[in-house]
Point group: C2
Chain length 212, copies 2
DNA sequence: GCTATTGATGACTTGTGAGTCAGCAGTCGC
DNA sequence: GCGACTGCTGACTCACAAGTCATCAATAGC
């Protein structure tokens, strides 16, 4: 009776890494790098802690894998979208902000961003991975889009990098507000509405007179 | 011979708390809350670890004291300055942004802000202290200034809170960039120049037509 | 079926840092 | 000067989490 009970574990060499990375993304996002327990990640992935070490040499390597496999692809997609867009900057910018607002509610990205910001001093190698794989590319993309729009006469003069900060900064602030203060009961913020009002405000300030 | 050597320690009941708070601010700013070692704080304050517990019951209480004694007063001062200002919002806003840029280079405030953002999930009580003592007041101040400027017809309609994000967000982003990515060799950012360009851009977008 | 291979485990070691405590040593009052 | 008070210390305990290892058990190949 009940001789056909489930085996205590199965051998699934190829499926494990992906499952572990998914579990690690969850736990890193919830607790930050230092406070994330490998035991928690293992439990959530349905394996023992020791099994993690069959696939990743240490906690750092696991984090790098998370950034590379689970985060970076989203940005590649964004880049492709922005590059494929044909039309005035005044129409692209609201789409961009709205997409950020949406990503903030549907992905773990804001939590990971918060983690990087908070732990960069103690784990500079994390900041480096994040910077090299994500941030520098994204910053260059937005700056380039602005520089090109300036070349077309759509946008006022001014350093493209600063214009990029003017455009993106408020969304980052909203996203961090949501992550940091809403859990403790602060007044929530409607990121989609912020995206709309900020787009209107900042574009009105950035567009060249001829582009109005 | 050498009988008058310094005593191994002195009893200085009233001076200790301030020295400990100053040391704690340094260490918390450098390492974050979780990674800050009480032994380091004690060493930098020139006392033993056990001595900390004569003045503060635990690490949390020490952190609360740091926020209350070393951080909050700066904001009170800011509030007084902004309230005392007489004149159009278009002149006040650049002053405000420039002051943020300056504070970012002369105080530990950005490091502490980064710490709060990064560790709020694991230590919600820190986020609460920070929110209640600093952020909610500052946010309300800026929102109120904007609402009053709208009432005077200087600024376009729109939710004052979102306008506040449009104004402050890019400075926050610049400040976090400096804290997070400059230590690892990323391209530095000139916060004063960012403040000037962003002020020009966003004011041009926010000011009512009549106010130009 | 049988066996070699290797994916997977539970119990272990090690390092670290918060918080504690018995007693020492400045310093105040006389 | 000298006791009494108490600020202060060094050495301790305890808890927790990264990383290791001897060994087991699922399964691929024959």
């Amino acid at each position: 009776m009940a001789e056909d009970r489930e085996p205590r574990f199965r051998r699934r060499k190829t499926a494990r890494p992906g499952e572990i990375i998914a579990a690690a993304l969850e736990v890193f996002a919830e607790r930050g790098f230092a406070a994330a327990r490998l035991a928690d990640i293992a439990h959530r992935a349905g394996v023992s802690k020791a099994a993690l070490y069959l696939y990743f040499p240490d906690k750092d390597a696991l984090f790098r894998a998370v950034v590379g496999e689970a985060i970076a692809p989203n940005f590649v997609e964004l880049r492709v979208m922005a590059r494929a867009y044909e039309g005035p900057f005044a129409a692209l910018a609201p789409l961009l902000l709205e997409r950020i607002a949406r990503a903030a509610t549907t992905t773990r990205l804001p939590a990971v961003a918060k983690m990087i910001i908070g732990e960069s001093r103690n784990f500079p190698q994390l900041a480096r991975v994040w910077h090299d794989q994500i941030v520098s590319g994204a910053a260059a993309l937005v700056s380039d889009l602005i520089a090109e729009a300036q070349a077309r006469g759509e946008i006022k003069p001014g350093r493209p990098r600063f214009h990029a900060f003017s455009l993106i900064g408020p969304m980052l602030m909203g996203l961090l507000w949501r992550e940091t203060f809403e859990p403790i009961g602060a007044e929530p913020i409607d990121l989609a509405a912020l995206a709309r009002q900020h787009a209107a405000t900042v574009l009105s300030g950035m567009l060249a007179e001829t582009g109005r």
